[in-house]
């Protein structure tokens, strides 16, 4: 593998590069959302795109999520490939009907006649002291719905490659960015690349315990891996990259090797990707496990505002390390 020209860019730049490259490649692709054009994006993800593509393809919408999400779905049924930015996934809840009742069901309900090639993207997850209404992790809530694909990148490189795949995908894709990660810098090649859905990445190789993690939690799990190495515990961290499709094979392969599994998922525990992974591992690796699958989630409460409470609310390094030790009978 030769990578000629690596550069370091921010997560937000990686997302923008993916969108811009795909818009240059395909006229059917356009971006709409609140403040995406003249304001250059509430989080500057779409900075400069209005200048390049003009107001017909980079479209400021009013604060009207239900309306513009539905409008974009209608446009996708007609054959366009819209990218819809939710300033935050927390605001997508007022658009629940179009994004859950229309987009993922159109293909099925029409007997295969009308698909919905659309990307919904925006910030997901707590961590900015925004209080309960603005701190949603929608993974658990939305991954319950068949017909959607859900992407949750942990770094700039993956964000770009997965976004390009999302835009070319023929099904509705929910792309979960993290406001906490937007300024993260990482190596991204100049050359074009795509990352397929449903293929986890081994972010850290290890032999004692598999940590299955999603999105921003991968980075915290990696820190834990370094810390636990000092205690003689070798963690393998799997960056799942996508929740639907879920790369079951990579999880199973890793857990069969390590015999222990901890899942780190920032959504609530009840009916979540974490519980789905636990069910999968218990079924497929029953005879390989030395302990039950341990799960680390956000606390089962509304997200608090106070900084210390919010940090305790989220899966953090301490809780993840405790879970790994407990899983290995080392606590």
């Amino acid at each position: 593998m030769s990578i000629a020209t690596m550069r370091e860019i921010e997560f937000r730049d990686a997302v923008r590069e993916a969108m811009s490259e795909e818009m240059r490649r395909d006229m059917r692709v356009m971006l709409m959302g609140e403040e995406v054009a003249q304001y250059n994006g509430a989080y500057k993800v779409s900075r400069g795109m209005l200048d390049e593509f003009g107001p017909r393809r980079v479209i400021d919408t009013p604060i009207s999520e239900s309306g513009f999400a539905g409008m974009a779905i209608g446009a996708a049924m007609m054959g366009l490939r819209p990218i819809v930015e939710f300033m935050s996934w927390s605001f997508s809840l007022v658009a629940a009907d179009p994004i859950l009742n229309n987009a993922p069901k159109m293909l099925y309900m029409s007997g295969g006649q009308f698909g919905c090639p659309i990307v919904f993207r925006g910030n997901d997850g707590a961590g900015g002291q925004l209080g309960s209404t603005h701190s949603w992790s929608v993974e658990g809530l939305f991954s319950n719905v068949p017909g959607i694909k859900m992407v949750i990148p942990s770094n700039p490189y993956d964000a770009k490659g997965l976004m390009k795949t999302a835009i070319r995908d023929d099904d509705p894709v929910f792309f979960l960015e993290s406001e906490r990660l937007l300024s993260m810098r990482g190596e991204v090649p100049e050359e074009e690349y795509l990352i397929p859905f449903g293929q986890a990445r081994i972010a850290r190789a290890g032999t004692d315990c598999t940590i299955v993690a999603f999105g921003r939690m991968v980075n915290i799990a990696l820190e834990v891996g370094i810390e636990l190495e000092k205690e003689g515990i070798s963690c393998e961290v799997l960056d799942m990259r996508t929740i639907r499709p879920l790369d079951a094979a990579s999880i199973i392969r890793s857990v069969k090797r390590t015999g222990a599994c901890v899942v780190v998922d920032q959504s609530w525990s009840f009916g979540s990707p974490g519980s789905e992974v636990a069910a999968l591992v218990h079924r497929e690796c029953f005879d390989d496990l030395d302990n039950y699958v341990h799960r680390v989630h956000s606390a089962d409460v509304p997200a608090p505002y106070a900084h210390n409470l919010e940090q305790e609310y989220l899966p953090n390094a301490r809780r993840i390390a405790e879970a790994v030790r407990s899983c290995l009978y080392r606590s």
Binding site: S64, G74, P146, L194
Partner: protein, 387 residues
């Protein structure tokens, strides 16, 4: 504001009849289409009672002139989207009654292969984008269809056809949907972005069992609501297909030329209940009889009799539509039920091979696009790996 119909004290709409004549053959065809829809719906009611049709079933009896008159004013390339009282629109748009009936029977021969049912009629060939079951949800979709046609015509094909928007979307809703937020959000977007869409409110006076004045402000003149969204509001008599056609033709031509949205208060009346289980206790028999005297099929028949339609002609049409609908029922009856393997079909575009549900190892990734930088060896056959 051009008002092509006026209301009298009892709420009934009296058509103005200063429109040009339509050719006899065209008008006769409209009569046939309306009678076909009527017969189709009567047979649906029977089939529902016989438990051949499941779920919810909303029949269009009384409103036939709306679907036939509005759709006659469009071209085949103009997209249409509607709510759950959708059989009439599907038939008026040209869907074969066999496919419409088989959908209601839940058979593989249905327009959506038995996956949609009565409320979800889809027909790509005829540019019918559904049939939608959630009240009002289809209006943002309709505005999106108009967004897409305009984008295709003016952005993607900027160097063809003068780069001018040239399709018109019809998005239907009932008066019961008027108070859904999504409808107002969509009207705002349509006005804001100059989208070529006609939002047609089939105002039959009842939101299920709630009369319009009990649930809607300005219920006596809902077209005024459009003003707030910068769009023209028009009232049309939806009980007279000729009036409906001419009024809609003007609007369709105007939207095709200007790419500006229009809102229509289409005055009509649903002769039957909201759905099959509705005892209609919320209105009087006298009111129903008053409207039944203005039955749109009777109105057109009377008009055509003045132009020479004979009783034999009428009987011949009646015989033909009965045979057509009967044949559609026989066809639906004989159409197989969907195979159980279809349960997992059309959830995704299936780029990963057959989908069988989550947490099943079959839902794996990566078959199509080669991953250049993946840490995992993609050359391993993952399914074989699991055996």
């Amino acid at each position: 504001m051009p008002t092509s119909a006026s209301s009298n004290a009892d709420g009934q709409v009296r058509p103005k009849s200063n429109r040009p004549e339509v050719p006899m053959a065209t008008a006769k065809n409209w009569l046939r289409e309306m009678m076909l829809i009527r017969e189709f719906e009567l047979r649906c009611m029977q089939a529902y009672q016989d438990k051949k049709i499941g779920g919810f079933c909303h029949v269009y009896i009384g409103q036939e002139a709306v679907a036939v008159g509005t759709i006659a004013a469009t071209e085949a390339r103009d997209p249409i989207v509607t709510a759950y009282r959708d059989h009439g629109h599907a038939l008026a748009r040209g869907m074969d009654p066999k496919h419409c009936m088989a959908e209601m029977y839940g058979r593989i021969g249905g327009c959506a292969k038995g996956k949609g049912g009565s409320m979800h009629m889809f027909d790509r060939d005829n540019n019918l984008f559904g049939g939608h079951g959630i009240v009002g949800a289809q209006i943002p979709l309709g505005v999106g269809l108009a967004f897409a046609t305009k984008y295709e015509d003016e952005v993607i094909n900027a160097d063809k056809n003068g780069g001018k928007s040239n399709r018109v979307t019809l998005a239907f809703l009932g008066d019961g949907a008027l108070n859904q937020g999504s409808v107002h959000e969509a009207m705002n977007l349509a006005g804001l972005f100059d989208l070529p869409v006609i939002i047609i409110c089939e105002n039959n006076g009842y939101s299920m069992g709630t009369s319009i004045v009990r649930g809607t402000t300005m219920g006596h003149q809902i077209s005024l609501k459009s003003e707030a969204y910068g769009m023209e509001g028009v009232e049309i008599d939806g009980m007279d297909v000729i009036e409906t056609y001419w009024a809609m033709k003007e609007l369709v031509d105007k939207v095709r030329a200007t790419s500006r949205p229009i809102f229509v208060d289409m005055r009509c009346y649903r002769f039957k209940g909201h759905s099959m289980s509705d005892p209609r206790k919320y209105r009087t028999r006298e009111e129903e009889e008053r409207y039944e005297q203005g039955d749109p099929i009777g109105v057109l028949k009377a008009h055509l009799e003045l132009r020479g339609l004979t009783e034999d002609d009428h009987k011949e049409i009646q015989r033909e539509v009965r045979a057509t609908v009967k044949a559609s029922m026989d066809w639906a009856e004989n159409s197989p039920t969907p195979p159980s393997s279809d349960l997992y079909r059309d959830v995704y575009r299936e780029r990963w091979g057959p989908y069988t549900g989550t947490s099943e190892p079959e839902m794996l990734g990566g078959a199509e696009i080669e991953c250049k930088f993946n840490a995992i060896d993609t050359t391993i056959d993952r399914k074989a790996d699991l055996l």
